[in-house]
Subunit: 273 residues, 2 copies
Amino acid sequence: MKFLEKLQKVQRKNRSLLCVGLDTDPAKLPSHLRTSKGAVVQFNRSIIEATSDLVCAYKLNLAFYESLGERGWRILKETLSAIPQHVITIGDGKRGDIGNTAEQYARALYDDLGFDAATVSPYMGYDSVEPFIRLDSKCAFVLALTSNEGSNDFQRLNIGGRPLYERIVQAAVKWNTKKNLGLVIGATHPKELQPIRKLAPTLPILIPGIGKQGGDLESAVRFGTDKNGRLAIINASRSVLYASTGKDFAAAARNEALQLRDQIQKYRDKFFS
Amino acid sequence: MKFLEKLQKVQRKNRSLLCVGLDTDPAKLPSHLRTSKGAVVQFNRSIIEATSDLVCAYKLNLAFYESLGERGWRILKETLSAIPQHVITIGDGKRGDIGNTAEQYARALYDDLGFDAATVSPYMGYDSVEPFIRLDSKCAFVLALTSNEGSNDFQRLNIGGRPLYERIVQAAVKWNTKKNLGLVIGATHPKELQPIRKLAPTLPILIPGIGKQGGDLESAVRFGTDKNGRLAIINASRSVLYASTGKDFAAAARNEALQLRDQIQKYRDKFFS
């Protein structure tokens, strides 16, 4: 199935633009789990079971698994196998390397781990992105304007009157011949979302930065979606995962995800009905 | 020991600016090894034994290990344990993410795997680099002007009359308060090396792109080194690893590394004696 088709199907089925980021930090697990051997997998499974009818996607930040060493890879696989087939999975590694190396990364993420999508860094240009968009069943989300403080260091540099991140957006639109490119735009930049959406009217936009990072949810929905109120993927990680650190963590995560999903739907109804 | 001190020591000891890139692709192994179980580790160990007195560093491209899945991490560790302590190890993953995630990557590369250095992507700015330079025993090499074709897509964009990559170089120099930042500049851009070296006179420069990628070795030595003919780390991967695909692969790799090392020394003698 084409990536865009799969995304739209699950967004419709679950009435949700919400993505939950499984950036699981062993040090932040509920204390009753912390000592058990398969704690991270157990935690992830519980979060997935509690939220999979409320989300369109799960985003797994690879750093949190790599920092666990060899077993991190196993945990990654076991977590992925707990995610229902119809939900989008995003391997968030922000990879970017020369062509023959990018091929190896794409193989790891798509073939070995089976992710539907990956995040990629644009700095090294087209040949670093191309291996991630060979199949239209897979999507590459290109970093354009990220959610962090450091996004101000280079991404806004002035190129002939326009910011660098717009050049990245324009390139992504140009490279999008198979309709399987997306963008990463932080919800912490609400004013920039609308002009970016105008430049890329049909690309899915992955929007991190709500929750802990303080991004603006209303703008994310209003300007991050396409003209039909779709194609935004709005990510929350820590605020859902660690909604409670007690034994009720899964119920608390569900509650937080439910509230976010419904708040997003309320904004969709407001702007797109 | 400080990173710069370790680098200078091994460069002196082995009279070498050469770095061998252990980007081992199982499909390219000598046929007599290909069927054996620990083939990649066996191959890497042989290459290391055959070349460790001729190099200042080994660069391990993480993609080639990640594409092997769970056992890739084990192979990475076993390979690292075969590298003599006094030789620099560079984890080439071109990571770049928001602060709390970059911390996880730094933990994986420095604490779990024990690399001396890492390559990082600058696009997400200072907070994505900072976790990699907290200790002066560890070094982060920031991508500035990369060796690939795609380096022309964004890295040369005009910012107020100067190319983007110069802004990255200037930022790296500014961030270098602990003297543990470096740059990545492809040998495929010989004309740009001299002006970059002028902007960053004391930073180590990792220079990939000689060998298969066709970079210019003479310019790499002449303009990539500091005023004393040091602090360049000149990387060759495929041309050394696959110098022969027969049973003599290790001897052939040694021969290729020896020629490169000595050619580099010849240029150093020419320009810095």
